[in-house]
């Protein structure tokens, strides 16, 4: 099964209102601990794992994920280490790597994607690689059966959305708010509209992220038609606040999974 097929399979068989997609920062608080956190997510009901590659200048991230990345780098995280996390977790669930453009392009898109594919990961998200800059990475991902997952924002114009929807692989990642990653009290006022617009642009599943932190948010996203919900900052915060990061993250993911359960 290719990465693209594996992601499709995960969305088709969640058994929940929407696929649950926890984000974790690779190497945070340490490489070994991040493997444990990922495994706890899987046990608690994660359908797909989004794995962050720590980066020196993460422009799309708010303070919590930025700080976690900085700490991971200070603790020695590097590409090889984070790809080991991917390899381990990919044995259980599809893993999508979130990595900034300079790290993908530094060794060359083809070399980076080939290395990622060898870990068994299923896809790649590059938050600072809009469609116009993506052809090289897209070609490399296609050649290796990986999904290059694009982002769609509330500010994305209809023309761009149509083009993004057409070239997307795996799923479309909709951003619920105009802003960076981070917890918010409520979902952005236009989140349902963003999901609906994205769904009209593509046949692929549509996931919603940025600002989802509670089971109630997750349910609202699913009810608005999202096929997947991505929870990041809430989990990174849980990992940072606890002596037992895997246990703490697993507990939050468990609550989110319960929130997304289909009523019987």
């Amino acid at each position: 099964m290719t990465g693209v097929e594996r992601i499709a399979d995960a969305f088709a068989n969640t058994g929940k209102q929407a696929a649950l997609m926890p984000y974790l920062m690779g190497g945070y608080p340490t490489l070994a601990a991040s493997i444990g956190i990922g495994q706890a997510c899987v046990t608690a009901g994660a359908d797909i794992i989004e794995l962050g590659m720590p980066y020196s200048d993460p422009l799309a991230d708010g303070p919590v994920i930025h700080a976690a990345g900085t700490e991971a780098l200070a603790a020695g995280a590097n590409v090889a280490g984070v790809l080991e996390v991917a390899r381990t977790l990919a044995q259980s669930v599809p893993v999508v790597l979130m990595c900034y453009a300079n790290m993908v392009l530094a060794p060359g898109a083809e070399a980076f994607v080939e290395r990622l594919a060898k870990t068994g990961a299923s896809g790649l998200i590059v938050p600072d690689l809009p469609l116009g800059e993506a052809p090289e990475v897209l070609a490399a991902c296609t050649a290796h059966g990986l999904a290059l997952v694009p982002l769609v924002a509330p500010t994305t114009t209809p023309e761009r959305l149509a083009a993004i929807g057409k070239s997307a692989k795996g799923f479309v990642y909709t951003v619920s708010v105009v802003g960076t990653t981070g917890e918010r009290n409520a979902l952005g006022e236009h989140f349902a509209q963003v999901v609906a617009r994205a769904k009209a642009s593509t046949e692929l599943p549509v996931a919603l992220g940025f600002g989802i932190s509670t089971p109630e948010h997750a349910r609202q996203a699913a009810q608005a038609g999202a096929d997947g919900v991505i929870v990041g900052t809430r989990l990174v915060r849980a990992a940072g606040e606890s002596e037992d990061p895997a246990g703490a993250v697993g507990a939050v993911v468990g609550e989110l999974a319960t929130g997304l359960a289909i009523a019987r």
Binding site: D57, L59, T70, N102, L105, P107, T155, T157, R160, V178
Partner: protein
Amino acid sequence: MNVVEHRFGPYGGQFVPETLMRALAELEQAWVKAREDPSYREELEGLLRDFGGRPTPLYKARRLSEKAGRPIYLKREDLNHTGSHKLNNALGQALLARRMGKRRIIAETGAGQHGVATATVCALLDMECVVYMGTEDTRRQRPNVQRMELLGASVKPVDAGAKTLKEATSAAIRDWVTNVESTHYVIGSVVGPAPYPAIVRDLQRVIGDEARAQILEVQGRLPERVIACVGGGSNAIGTFAAFLEDEQVQLIGVEAGGEGIDTPRHGAPLTVGGRVGILHGSRSAVMQDEEGQILQAHSVSAGLDYPGAGPQHAQLRDSGRARYVAVTDLEAIAAFKEMARLEGIIPALETAHALAWTLAQVDGGLDLVCLSGRGDKDLAEVLKPTPDK
């Protein structure tokens, strides 16, 4: 082909979150309209003249020329209102933002010169102004923090990473991602995603256009060399732009050599010629490690303390049209002091890099140096006792 350049050979582009793409397209459209609009141009030129004090003089530095044995002319951007070339760009962009209906302005600043220029223009045009500045820079450029606050701007200290210009720029971009609908980001140099490098160059080109006409008037010939310091590279590109077609004129960009370009402690990505990378939305020469993590730059001059450089500079370097060299912290400080005593002009530490390189040359017939800013802000840094000695 875009009406505004997005790429400079393999450099440039738009490596930003999707959230910003519409704003970049709107900015480009607004710029294309504004630059063709006589009312925009008249207002900008009028303010540059009456508020800013343009045209700035081209001054033959008498004692420097005597010492060097050849005429050295200084393009006096230090005499521009707010004390540097930064006002040219800040005015142009703020007027553009007002046309776009945006009343909130954000900016990044290193040395504080761009922050002061932006705060000044926001006071003039009654706009809200937020300036991001690394905490290392708020410390070493304290007078400029006070000036910005006096002008009504809110200075947001940035405590991440090396606490200098790179982090301030990242923080400004994050603010823009969050407030893009109400806010215009006045980027201060020829860096960032397209269309910024082209817009900032076009707004700074007034330096070169004036200087070229002035030198022809007083000397009846073009300079042999045009020299300017390069952090992101806005005063340099603004000066070079007018001379690009004059193939006999050598263009020299002087980067921050810091503690030496054979050490990791410098800010000279163009000179050392490392791998191409992406920083703050565009592809250019970038100081980075093997895996693509951006490295921390170092320079005694906050305005040059930046691990990247404008994409057009990378193209000019590759084509051989411009040459890039580096000057160390100590050489720049020596030139700073020499300039004060020989000419009665205290240059910015950034500018002192361009002067240091020029003073070190024994050959040449006619040099034109962009004196990009004044150095009052640097007194504390230059005069502080060195703890090691």
